[in-house]
Amino acid sequence: MTRGGIVAAALTAGGMFLSPRLDAHRLDEYLQATRLSVALDRIELEIDLTPGVSIAERIVTAIDTDRDGRFSPAESDAYAGTVLNALALTADGRALPLNPGDQSFPDRGAMLEGVGTIRLRASAMLPRTSGGRHTIEYRNGYQPEASVYLANTLVPGNRRITIAAQDRDPLQHRLTVTYDITYSRSRRTGAVAASLAVVLIVMGRRKRATARPA
């Protein structure tokens, strides 16, 4: 018998000694993954929600309120609103209102299989911030009884922003991000250099003027 034949025979004839759980996908957990990005003027949230197969029907029912078997734009908006209402975001201790952004919902069948991911985007405007250290706190209180959370900060696209620390509670309901804004030492240095250059030019001119013979 060839090796392939042996493999097949062993697999079919009970050559494997295990009884795997047949869960190719999430079961009774509601995975809520948030990625948070910090810019100078705003915070952006990417929230991916994947209900497990055994709780998906409950979530589908919560979205498809008219029970017509599909998620209408109004139903999707309403569900996104429910999720966003359960989130809290503060910047330096001040609460920030979340503005809903793009959203996409999987088809109902994919959700019922436990593999459909709802993708919500939201943002919050930051008050004008000075340089130095700042803190953002993100809390996700949506469906805490069945959920598994992931919360991470993306590396900032703006080089003036440096993430100093991330702190979470053990279940990642809460993510506190401490970051530094370096308001442009180069801008300040540039201004000083420009002033110095003007002074030097003026002094140079005066020197030449005094050195010129009358």
Binding site: T2, R3, G4, G5, I6, V7, A8, A10, L11, T12, G15, M16, F17, L18, S19, P20, R21, L22, D23, A24, H25, R26, L27, E29, L31, A33, R35, D48, G52, D107, G109, A110, E113, V115, T117, V148, L150, N152, T153, L154, V155, I163, Q166, R168, D169, P170, L171, Q172
Partner: protein, 388 residues
Amino acid sequence: MKTLLAPWLCLGIALPFVAGGLSGVRPPENQAAAASARGVTTKVVGAANALLATLSAEQRGKVSFEFNGPQRTGWSNLPSGIFERKGLRLGDLTAAQRAAAMALMAAALSPSGYKKINEIMDGDEVLKNAGGGRTGGRPGGGGPPPNDPARGGTPEGVSPGARAGGPPQGGRGGGGGIVFGKDEYYLALLGAPSETMPWLIQFGGHHLAINVTIAGANSAMTPSLPAAQPAKYTLNGQTIRPLGGENDKGFALINALDATQRKQAILDYQVRDLVLGPGNDGKTIQPEGIRASALTPPQQTMLLDIAREWVGILNEEAAAQKMAELKTNLPNTYFAWSGATENGGLAYYRIQGPTVVIEYAPQQGDLDHIHTIYRDPTNDYGGKLVAK
């Protein structure tokens, strides 16, 4: 003074040779490596063309995609019936075609990498035979397992035309059931096989997504997702653990750290899934854990050895280049751990550096169901190679 100056004078003499090495005059060993890498590309292109020669015009149409088209990101870890892949389904191929498809993978990957993907596929066959294939209306899904012609068998049970229709890529399968097993792996070629122009081999199915970009003599294998369920099974009297090295080497490193190092490495929160799994291309999260510069040289070697489990899936020449890059970037590479520290417990870990992200994540508290991801934020889908 003379004594102090002497080493610098020696360095001054040596510098022209060093500079020669850096400025494009390759030392012989680099020339040999380059020639070897070109040889790999020639071999892979040959294997791809050999496969294409076995296919009908319709099949060639099915396997061929644009290099920059949407197929590139159209991969998943999910099984057929939930995620509808495009490309050539192994179960639809003749014995010769299937052998040629697997020969292409063998040419692109290292022997250990090829073994690993076969063990992942065998694991899915185990899952199917344990009752994992809910056929729910999809014809052929519950048929007898085919042999692997690439490994010497014949495709008994191949059911041409058994593919269910379905919505465009990324959608659910149209057959209404989840199907496991070795027939349910797909191959796609993005771009024409070439020794000079970039092209990509995409191979995957349940718990496996391999993306190999080839650009001239260079190749890259990011993003890729090797996973396993079951993570341990017995086959022909042998215990198979497709991701056993990844598990054991991770635990070995966390146990090699002293208390201070562990405090830095171990995250004080649970991580229950991949953070940068499928669909998260182009994202870089803030690194956490212990910086490799805080590890001892033997610990650094252990860290690189863990990374090699993913990097080494690709052919040895490309893997050697990548490992050299990881070694160079080691001071800015982090190792983060969450969960139990005794091997056999549930634990997540992540290796993150300037050109690598590796995550290892048991699923839903199940040690027998592991997902991993391997990315290069600077070179996913060979972006850096193509830009050269």
